[in-house]
């Protein structure tokens, strides 16, 4: 996994609440057996007009937001389906950071597995940024994971919270499975105890 330390990037605004993962990446793109190449499916239905042509008004179709690496959005982003294809598609489009006033749990967690930093800011902070990004071509934000800050072009600094463990893994780009496997002895000890307490959970279910 790619480490995340600091970044300064162009911001793309998605001014909606409750954006579900079915919208981020619709079902027809879930048939892949790969993690890559999902950019084409990102916000697929919202990118198009009724006649099937690209909607020039949709933010991802606007030239000014090409090359954006930070997605700015609103409440409960990523709700619904657990599909990790959602962060994969965002990553494929070039987003390394999503800033929102709140996130759904599974999506939030899935971001960390893919080197994407999800940042929860206060609703009024998001509102100001949303207004500014729409009004200011080339609007960029600077994200500093180490100091847990987002800095706006006029120098306003917004602090965000993050679990120390998640922060450390992302900051160093650690392999989560490799980390857990370092605790092999603890897992084995647990299994021995559990097997004595609840042997029915260790029956071989293979039929």
């Amino acid at each position: 996994m790619q480490a995340f330390t600091t970044m300064t990037g162009l911001v793309a605004p998605l001014d909606r609440v409750n954006v579900d993962t079915d919208q981020i990446i619709p079902k027809q793109f879930l048939k892949t057996i790969k993690r890559t190449g999902l950019r084409e499916g990102l916000f697929y239905d919202w990118r198009k007009q009724k006649d099937g042509s690209q909607d020039p008004a949709f933010f991802l179709n606007q030239p000014r937001f090409q090359g954006a690496t930070i997605l700015l959005t609103r409440d409960n982003f990523g709700c619904g389906s657990s599909r990790e294809h959602a962060p994969w598609a965002l990553l494929d489009q070039g987003f390394r950071c999503v800033i929102a006033s709140s996130f759904a749990d599974i999506f939030y967690n899935n971001c960390f597995q893919n080197g994407i930093l999800p940042i929860e800011l206060k609703p009024d902070e998001v509102l100001v940024m949303m207004k500014d990004v729409l009004a200011t071509p080339g609007y960029q934000l600077t994200v500093d994971l180490g100091n847990q800050t987002v800095t706006t072009p006029n120098g306003t600094i917004c602090r965000f919270d993050i679990d120390p463990f998640r922060k450390d893994c992302l900051y160093r780009g650690l392999d989560a499975i490799g980390l857990t496997l370092q605790h092999e002895a603890a897992i084995a000890t647990y299994e021995t105890r559990r097997k004595a307490e609840a042997p029915w959970l260790f029956a071989d279910l293979r039929t």
């Binding site: 057996i33 389906s81 657990s82 599974i106 967690n109 679990d163 605790h183 603890a186 647990y190």
Partner: protein, 467 residues
């Protein structure tokens, strides 16, 4: 020892180790796997040269992509076919039990886990699917995970988790006749909102919950994720034990007796504290119909479509306007005036034998309205077989319903069962997001009873007074 909630008891019995910031390495007893969210996990194992730690703790089934028509002709969509073949190959390579597409035990992953006795009280269960919350009906801590975590559990039988908070949703009283668990959970989501449960595990308590069958509890817990909660649970009781007994993968004989004794522990102690408690009265819950594009946009059958002009909160007003535009509904119109052209009875929410029994009895002697397409998709091959033994398929077919093979089907329309743009569906599934059942399709979430009545009348009707 301090009084504990059901959640706390399960959590604490699964802690392998905790980081200083209380991030926990949690042991996972069992994992369910399906074809859509697992290929990249198995690929990850192969690339890193890792093997599943306990392949025997894992059960796999294809469900999202499978056709619900005659399967002897194979799968028309080549991408779907590849995904299912990939699951078969991965299960073979890694020694994981698979109920293949032509196995009678095949079905929706959250139907077959309980049906097989794979789902047990006091356990931790995960699956790369947000509706894993279903299994909480047995007093398990069950939640959906992403594909990277599917790989993590395969490789380590553990997950790194932050401890969630606890929410009690207490429903006391008696439901009106033909009001069901589906109406209860939709009403709960309508009350607390689609993010109301974010960061929480919900425990459902109260006399109305205790009165629910296991099937009803599964429906209830299934949609916990639609309230933002990764997991929902109901403490096990004698109904739970009776349901599990003699299931193929359940413990047998003395081991079963020992397990039943251990399961007595899994209930919230008197005096244990939840972080939040929400209460509802069962008598206040009318049959529910969703009108918008999020499960929280829901109301009683005796109500009207909301009028955005009366909503003061600008965010709520805008999202309501947008939803009504997408759904093609007029503000203030009675819910009973909404005409439908498709009916889908199925999904991990409502496709179990009890759902089909009730739906079939209501369909008996009736006819699906002209111009309405109505389909019934059983939750598993075994549910289908059971229904056919009871003659339910005949009741459905005589009334003009299609009787199909088991799978996820039109709940998310990954197979050929897709709404066309503008089509309006009364659906017993769990999500009414834009395009969920097909691009441009319009979904109204309802109970199986409400779906049958809508199929017959061509519009929504109040099941409590429907003849």
């Amino acid at each position: 020892m301090a009084a504990q909630t059901l959640f706390e008891k399960i959590w604490e019995s699964h802690v392998v180790r905790a980081e200083p910031d209380s991030t926990t390495l949690l042991y996972i007893d069992r994992q369910l796997v399906h074809e859509v969210t697992s290929p990249q996990a198995f690929e990850g194992l192969k690339l890193s040269g890792r093997r599943p730690r306990r392949p025997s703790a894992t059960l796999a089934v294809p469900d999202h992509n499978v056709p619900t028509t005659d399967r002897s002709v194979g799968i028309a969509d080549p991408l779907s076919a590849i995904q299912i073949r990939t699951l078969e190959e991965n299960c073979r390579d890694f020694g994981i039990t698979l109920f293949g597409m032509n196995d009678i035990r095949q079905g929706v992953v959250h139907v077959i886990g309980p049906e097989q006795g794979f789902t047990l009280p006091g356990t931790t269960i995960v699956c790369g699917d947000s509706h894993t919350s279903t299994h909480g009906a047995f007093g398990a801590l069950a939640f959906g995970i992403g594909t990277s975590e599917v790989e993590h559990v395969l490789a380590t039988q553990c997950l790194v988790q932050k401890r969630p908070k606890t929410m009690e949703v207490r429903v006391d009283g008696t439901l009106s006749e033909l009001c069901s668990a589906k109406d209860v959970i939709l009403a709960i989501i309508g009350k607390i909102g689609t993010a109301g449960g974010t960061g929480y595990v919900i425990e459902y308590t109260g006399s109305a919950i205790r009165a629910l069958s296991m099937e009803g509890r599964m429906t209830l817990c299934n949609m916990s994720i639609e309230a933002g909660a990764r997991a929902g649970m109901v403490a096990p009781d004698e109904k739970t034990v009776a349901y599990i007994k003699d299931r193929p993968l359940a413990p047998k004989g003395m081991l079963f007796d020992r397990a039943v004794q251990a399961w007595q522990h899994f209930k919230t102690d008197a005096g244990a504290a939840y972080d939040v408690t929400v209460t509802m009265k069962a008598e206040d819950i009318a049959p529910q119909v969703s009108w918008g594009t999020s499960p929280g946009m829901v109301t009683g059958i005796d109500q009207r479509v909301p009028d955005p002009r009366t909503i003061t909160d600008i965010n709520l007003r805008q999202s309501t306007e947008r939803a009504l535009e997408y759904m093609g509904l007029i503000p203030n119109m009675p819910i009973t005036d909404i005409k439908i052209d498709t009916v889908f009875i199925g999904s991990c929410t409502n496709s179990r034998i009890e759902d089909l029994r009730l739906a079939a009895q209501l369909a008996r002697g009736k006819s699906v309205a002209t111009g309405v397409r109505a389909m019934v998709v059983p939750g598993s091959g075994l549910v289908k077989q059971q229904a056919e033994q009871e003659g339910l398929d005949r009741l459905f077919k005589d009334a003009g319903f299609e009787w199909r093979e088991a799978g996820c089907s039109m709940c998310l329309a990954m197979n050929a069962d897709v709404l066309q743009p503008g089509e309006r569906c009364a659906s017993t599934s769990n999500r009414n997001f834009e395009g969920r059942q097909g691009a441009g399709g319009r979904t109204h979430l309802v109970s199986p009873a409400m779906a049958v009545a809508a199929a017959v009348e061509g519009h929504f009707v109040d099941i409590r007074t429907w003849k």
